[in-house]
Symmetry: C2
Subunit: 371 residues, 2 copies
Amino acid sequence: MKMLVETKYFSFDEKIKLENGLEFGPITVAYETYGELNETRDNAILVLHALSGDAHAAGYHSEDDKKPGWWDSMIGPGKPFDTNKYFVICSNFLGGCKGTTGPSSINPATGKPYGMDFPIITVEDMVKVQKKLIDYLGVKKLLSVAGGSLGGMQALEWAIMYPDIVRSAAVIASATKLSAQNIAFNEVGRNAIISDPNWNNGDYYGNELPARGLALARMIGHITYLSEESMHEKFGRKLQDKHHVDFNFDVNFQVESYLRYQGQSFVDRFDANSYLFISKAMDYFDLHEKYGSLAHAFKDSKSKFLFITFTTDWLFPPEELKTAARTIMSLGKEVTYCNIDAPFGHDSFLLEFEHQSRIISNFLAGISTQP
Amino acid sequence: MKMLVETKYFSFDEKIKLENGLEFGPITVAYETYGELNETRDNAILVLHALSGDAHAAGYHSEDDKKPGWWDSMIGPGKPFDTNKYFVICSNFLGGCKGTTGPSSINPATGKPYGMDFPIITVEDMVKVQKKLIDYLGVKKLLSVAGGSLGGMQALEWAIMYPDIVRSAAVIASATKLSAQNIAFNEVGRNAIISDPNWNNGDYYGNELPARGLALARMIGHITYLSEESMHEKFGRKLQDKHHVDFNFDVNFQVESYLRYQGQSFVDRFDANSYLFISKAMDYFDLHEKYGSLAHAFKDSKSKFLFITFTTDWLFPPEELKTAARTIMSLGKEVTYCNIDAPFGHDSFLLEFEHQSRIISNFLAGISTQP
């Protein structure tokens, strides 16, 4: 039987102060919850999504839905984020295009979509908005904050910004700062969007979309999400619907067909301006720079940490979180670090469940049985 | 004192039979030579360039030139490709845009540039055209064929196609087939060009160029040519002309500035259609498929091989040529395999000289002193 869920909305009028110094509001937050908040209001877990994710982390919106939420294998009754025990919350982050205020939302000052008038946001700003949601839901303590990739960055920022609320943080396939190579890939993706004539300085809503640019950005992204190994396994040099190369510029190899499909389908479900703002938020993420040093960043945190990396993740190489784990450990704090041998590259956090499930279940059990 | 050289041209009217079955001609070849062909006509070395290279491998075209040819550190008096001993030849390959017939050349049938009427070409076709040049220059035997990346693919094809002419092949930062990941990066680069409205199905000569698309393709390429390590060393998260991020969509980080510059400057010197055709030739390169197996491909080769890879080259990982070396060795042929510890990623073949020089000098000395 399918677990049916619905996306809910929460709005607040008071402005929040963004990291860039500007005040911004009003803000609507799209979110979903799974399981029930207990009487002591301390069994809540906040799940945080990555670049192209949304609030729909688990279950189905209707019986007809073919695909469940993006982390359905991890969230539900008896699953690692066990909805029989925990109250799991997931919200679309600030700047997104799946119900939470972002560049495609209407700017009340003009009655038109914000477009490039949307403010530059950071991971800190995303977290601040999530804090408003947590307060609104009456949650006192977060048993855990958890997410992969950009979701892991939010989890780290949560543990730093709200040390009295966050009891634990599960940070997966992520980093304490974005690398030069990742900034470079993001920059090329942004350039693909911005150089699409349909982008029109971000003012394309109601007109033709910068579809070619956004598709290109997504194609680049997809290559980086897979490992060379998994690409080889998945496609090798296999030809698309033919036995011999036919010497033309049509799709020759399966990997080409896959990328074109991924690029095109992304255009149907994602907003190009959101891509710009969110990828910038990732670029700006650097806990070392922001807090002076990593040790200084985590000095007041009361959270226990679980850091998970994947051997074939070349976009967020294991070494980075491993080093961070050592730093946090040297502060006398509890950190579990696991490097999972999985072939799927960065996407492993969405594809590898056997080890991830066991590790996360045990980690959460350890937190929930402690006072 | 600068070694002054000039680019020469050789044309032939008879058509060559392309790997795709079509006949193609006439063809002009741009080439340069360094050193002198000896009396026995057997001291010639053919140097083969990579995707964006040209015939100008060494020396200067004029006293005013600031930059020498692309492999000047390797070619010249007393250098590994020692022009006191060897007669070094380099030509722009078929499909290029630096003097040899390519998509931007005039199609004699129409009086206009070929554009997309240029035939699909392969590495085999490039080699066939080079063979015409070698014959024209009166070279009987090639002491060596040598090149990095796509240049290495040509060297491998030379050793297979002309076993009685090629005495040795130095194959650097290359592979016996292009990987799925490389095809994927090429496909995104081609899509960037093709989706640029100025591309106009390849018919843009004399009009606005598909500059945005070509710049994007080059930016993607540049990320793949560098290692994460070298990017980190070179740029890290260093800001461009500022001390703090200023929260906007201008260039924030040095790596962004570098990529934009590389993209833009490529547009001034390279033809977008050449990029399409050459990257396709790379995609099609697969000696395993073409010859049934790698062992079968090399069974008649009389060449000695030098395979050089670089530890941080993730675009052409060392393992591929290492495995190929084993296969060729198992045929009882002489193969030297060196994996050089260098931080520059794929670009190491253009940047690392200390080890490369010594290894190539010794390899060539070994060939030239044998009968």
